[in-house]
């Protein structure tokens, strides 16, 4: 029996409670999501995009949901400051904004999903879940829509440029195994700019699954930098569905960095719908133990003269499993598309496994596209060269790992953030205290 049934049953039994803890505009979408789940169920590993991760198994444990909106204590010692950058820090416990100043001005809104629905119902209706009925919504997004109670909204009004880093520290918490359905809605009106960093950390070592949906709307000429970091414990899993729509001339720098955790799967769809939109999508994964990290990317060039540049790198050790599937789809009429996609991977142990699948589908004539992937091990000549200079094989491997990571990290334009991320990666390789000023996570376990 499919594991989705337990969530459907839970919804049918507790819909009232769910609705009470949320907002009517959020509640209004539940029925369609339920119906979609009842009709289509969960994808299986026979489905192309789910070949590498068993969704049914991920949802099988008997997770609880915080339907009654019980307040969960959390510690603000998780600071994760980025030195040298002005930032606004928000703590999000599961799906609830628990710390940080809500911004609610004509230029910018940063706050809970329910408050945004209350304050700006028309905007909410325009953007929230607005592509789910077009058939693009997947089962995990439906599950989220059926059960979600809250989340975060970043709205930046036309022409406003937010210069502070908006930093969200997402903590998975709870004293029992929990499923969190978190929603993020990011809207940049034309010409707006914002930089967002979402760090996922563990608040406990109890099994936790976060089923997160991120919807990003970028209107004409907007610029968004959006970075996400997983630095959690092995009992923490994340299933993320990200849906990004970019209008003409918009710019997106997206990066997802997975340093530690259990299962992490991200399905990121980026639609370039207006001419001269561009996206740079980057990913870096360090996996060991029994980590399972699956990044599934779709970039759709729906308009002419758009650019996409995808670079994902994995370093896998132990029995870790990595998967990368990236499809670049060039629609008819998307002439002068400029696209490149690279996936490079290192398997450090005989048991580590990497599955890689770069794909290109082109239905336009005048395009420049390339894609490729590599899987390898470290260059023995380079290692010996280092040994001869007195650097031990262990330290030599760490230097090579950091160098491998640097390609991805150096794509991040903001120097303080780049340095901060590099330090986190270096600490991850050292397996020392990964982040002294924030007290996270895996290295202390």
């Amino acid at each position: 029996m499919s594991s989705i049934n337990q969530y459907i049953d839970l919804y049918l039994q507790h819909a009232d409670l769910l609705n009470q803890g949320s907002h009517p505009l959020i509640n209004a979408h539940r029925a369609a999501a339920l119906s979609g789940l009842q009709t289509h169920g969960l994808p299986s590993r026979k489905d192309e995009r789910y070949k590498y991760t068993d969704i049914d198994k991920a949802l099988a444990p008997d997770y609880g949901l915080n339907l009654q909106r019980l307040s969960i204590p959390f510690s603000t010692r998780y600071q994760c400051r980025v030195p040298g950058m002005r930032s606004r820090l928000y703590h999000v416990v599961d799906d609830t904004l628990a710390g940080g100043d809500i911004l609610d001005t004509p230029q910018i809104f940063v706050g809970p999903l329910t408050l945004f629905a209350e304050r700006y119902p028309e905007k909410f209706k325009k953007y929230y879940d607005s592509e789910s009925e077009s058939g693009k919504s997947n089962a995990l997004a439906r599950l989220n829509t059926m059960l979600v109670q809250n989340g975060i909204v970043v709205f930046v009004a036309k022409g406003y440029k937010e210069s502070d880093l908006l930093q969200f520290i997402n903590l998975s918490a709870g004293g029992v195994p929990m499923l969190t359905n978190r929603r993020q809605l990011i809207i940049l009106e034309s010409g707006a700019e914002a930089t967002i960093l979402a760090c996922n950390h563990s608040g406990s070592q109890i099994d936790h699954l976060t089923n997160e949906v991120v919807e990003v709307w970028q209107e004409e000429g907007s610029k968004l930098q959006y970075y996400t970091i997983d630095d959690t414990v092995a009992s923490d899993s994340i299933l993320n569905t990200t849906h990004i729509v970019q209008s003409a001339g918009s710019r997106l720098e997206y990066a997802s960095i997975t340093l530690s955790g259990g299962l992490a799967r991200r399905e990121v769809d980026i639609y370039l719908r207006g001419a001269d939109a561009s996206v740079q999508a980057s990913g870096f994964v360090v996996g060991d133990g029994e980590q399972h990290v699956d990044n599934n990317l779709l970039v759709v060039h729906d308009a002419p003269a758009c650019q996409s540049d995808v670079l994902y790198k994995y370093i896998l050790d132990g029995q870790a499993v990595g998967a990368f599937a990236g499809k670049v789809y060039v629609s008819p009429g998307a002439e002068q598309t400029d696209s490149q996609e690279t996936n490079a991977n290192m398997c450090m142990s005989p048991e580590a496994r990497m599955y890689t699948q770069p794909m290109l589908e082109i239905y336009a004539d005048d395009v420049k596209c390339n894609h490729g992937s590599t899987v390898g091990q470290f260059n023995d000549n380079a290692l010996f060269y280092m040994n001869q200079r007195g650097i031990s094989p262990e330290d030599g491997r760490k230097l090579l790992q950091q160098a491998f990571a640097w390609d991805v990290i150096e794509r991040i334009p903001l120097l303080p953030l780049r340095q901060r991320l590099m330090r986190m990666v270096e600490s991850r390789f050292r397996l020392a205290d990964s982040c002294n000023d924030c007290g996270i996570c895996i290295s202390k376990v």
Partner: protein
């Protein structure tokens, strides 16, 4: 300082060195000549502990210690340095972080604290001037995009930083033009001390004109077949190696 006795070594099961005996005193420069395939580079790789080479027989004693029992990095800490025939490119690892890791590894071995940032910068500034490398080069990846000449100068620069007691120059002159050769050789000469020794593998007299070796050895087919003074190198320059093959027979 270095004592090699009856050394046999093989690579991929094929015996290359067939009984090498060599004695080097502190302060001496030994030239090692011989045609391609005679085993010169194998000998240098065995000395630095390259895992691709297997010693099947014989002993090597360095400063009274059993060299063959040490892993490659420890041989380096003990003061053996090889200037590679083909220095390896390591994209993404900057020369600065590479050298600092090397310096600190040695200091740790010697029981010293890690070098401070300021001290390190001072050290590399002083040493890179010896071989005429500019400031930007230490921020680049190790040998990344370096020309042949830059790579060889970089080898001597690293030697200057690590201050070895035994340097092996493995065809450091190959691929160098006349000016680069002079810079490299002069850099090496400035670094010599009465206690430091070197083995210089070369095909050409020109390098030896600069280095002025004390002893010249000729290798053929995995053995040292002739040892002499600098005049031996002159004769090889004039007559090649064929006359030695006759001697061997």
């Amino acid at each position: 300082m270095l004592e090699i006795q009856n050394l046999h070594a093989s690579v991929e099961g094929k015996e290359i060195l067939k009984g090498i005996n060599l004695h080097i005193n502190p302060g001496e420069v030994h030239a090692l000549m011989g045609p391609n395939g005679s085993g010169k580079s194998t000998l240098s790789n065995v000395l630095v502990g390259n895992p691709l080479y297997t010693v099947t027989q014989g002993t090597i004693t360095f400063k009274g210690k059993d060299l063959l029992a040490m892993p490659a990095e420890r041989r380096s800490h003990e003061g053996i340095f090889m200037s590679f025939q083909q220095p390896v490119e390591i994209p993404g690892v900057s020369m600065n972080s590479f050298l600092r890791a090397a310096v600190n590894a040695k200091r740790k071995y010697m029981g010293q604290p890690p070098i401070s940032g300021a001290e390190f910068l001072k050290l590399i500034k002083e040493k890179r001037q010896l071989v005429g490398l500019d400031d930007s080069f230490t921020r680049r990846g190790v040998n990344e995009g370096f020309s042949g000449g830059e790579r060889k100068r970089n080898e001597i620069f690293q030697m200057a930083v690590l201050e070895p007691v035994l340097t092996i120059l493995d065809e450091t002159d190959s691929g160098l033009d006349v000016d680069a050769l002079r810079i490299v050789a002069e850099g090496f000469n400035k670094l010599r001390t009465p206690q430091s020794s070197a083995i210089c593998i070369t095909h050409y007299q020109r390098m030896l004109d600069y280095l002025r070796p004390d002893v010249v050895h000729v290798m053929l087919n995995g053995c040292i077949v002739k040892t002499g003074g600098p005049e031996l190198a002159n004769r090889i320059e004039e007559e090649g190696f064929d006359w030695l093959k006759n001697v061997e027979n």
